[in-house]
Symmetry: C2
Subunit: 160 residues, 2 copies
DNA sequence: ACTATATAGTTAGATAGCCTAACTACTAGC
DNA sequence: GCTAGTAGTTAGGCTATCTAACTATATAGT
């Protein structure tokens, strides 16, 4: 079946996909753990992360990122607001919209917890040579592309 | 602040961490999508994935991987069993335990959906030269290590 | 061998988070 | 100005998780 020449590569390739799996898995675990540590649900934690990393968003926008309905996003923002983690502010131009902004306190608290992680991951990247960085970046971009395209290319396909 | 020599590297390093973030994010999205496509909840979908990739597990073991209590794992296996996706079988040596095994039908159905993704990701890895594979594998392993160590190194730390 | 403790799994009841449906307020296109 | 679409909210229902309590089996201490 497998040619001898390919075998070395294929084994390593599979090993590599397995390692990627390990990363996504560890990421899910650490997200649960951080959420618990901050007294939040996983989605609430992820929402805070999005707000911190991707700038201010509206409730529905946030819910969309998390794959939930706008009603659930309202409830999510309610929870975060009740805990003092975010504030609802009016959108500068569109009077329908709101902007959900993390409070200073929340930024400190959440960043304080995830900073060591981010720093550690950045450090790994910085230890690489520019060429190596290019290789890894290319790999990650391609993988992202595949994951993102799959949803678009195989739409619904409900069954029969 | 940043030295000119560092700057090129650092920018790319940050870009790289960002790309990694993109992968984990896309992974979460695709998991939601695949779960919905198979008529499962996200955790139920993930459980099926674990069962397929990591061999047969007991309910509590499965629940542990998913970060839930054994009672919830019982309910999860109940759901999967009711849908005909898994079967409870007695553990060969320990009479307390069960082994949750995916049914043939479920293996086909789930693998049928995730196979293109796995193939695509494997293909990306296979396009790399052995040296490049080594670089990426090393990167992913280090990142995994950081994520996994964080939970162990910063245990609980409830507050004050 | 006997007892005590720990582990795997289940049940019952409570809670939290998400859903759908319906609604208000606002924007944008014709 | 009317019409259709979008952002956000409320109300009510449902589902997945939780905690607590329990059974059955395994393991460790004496």
């Amino acid at each position: 079946m497998e040619g001898e020449i390919q075998e070395g590569n294929s084994l390593k390739a599979h090993e590599l996909s397995w390692a990627l799996r390990g990363v996504t898995r560890a990421n899910a675990e650490i997200t649960r753990e951080l959420a618990q540590r901050l007294g939040l649900g996983v989605n609430d934690m992820t929402a805070m992360d999005y707000l911190l990393q991707d700038g201010p968003l509206g409730p529905a926008e946030l819910g969309n990122l998390l794959g939930m309905r706008s009603a659930s996003a309202t409830a999510l923002v309610d929870r975060l607001e009740a805990m003092g983690h975010v504030e609802r502010r009016p959108h500068p131009t569109d009077r329908r919209r709101l902007v959900v902004e993390p409070t200073v306190h929340a930024v400190e608290e959440v960043l304080g917890v995830i900073r060591p992680l981010v720093a550690g991951i950045d450090a790994v990247a910085e230890e690489l040579s520019p060429d190596e960085q290019r290789v890894v970046l290319d790999y990650l971009s391609r993988v992202s592309g595949i994951l993102r395209n799959y949803g678009a290319e195989n739409p619904e396909q409900v069954s029969s």
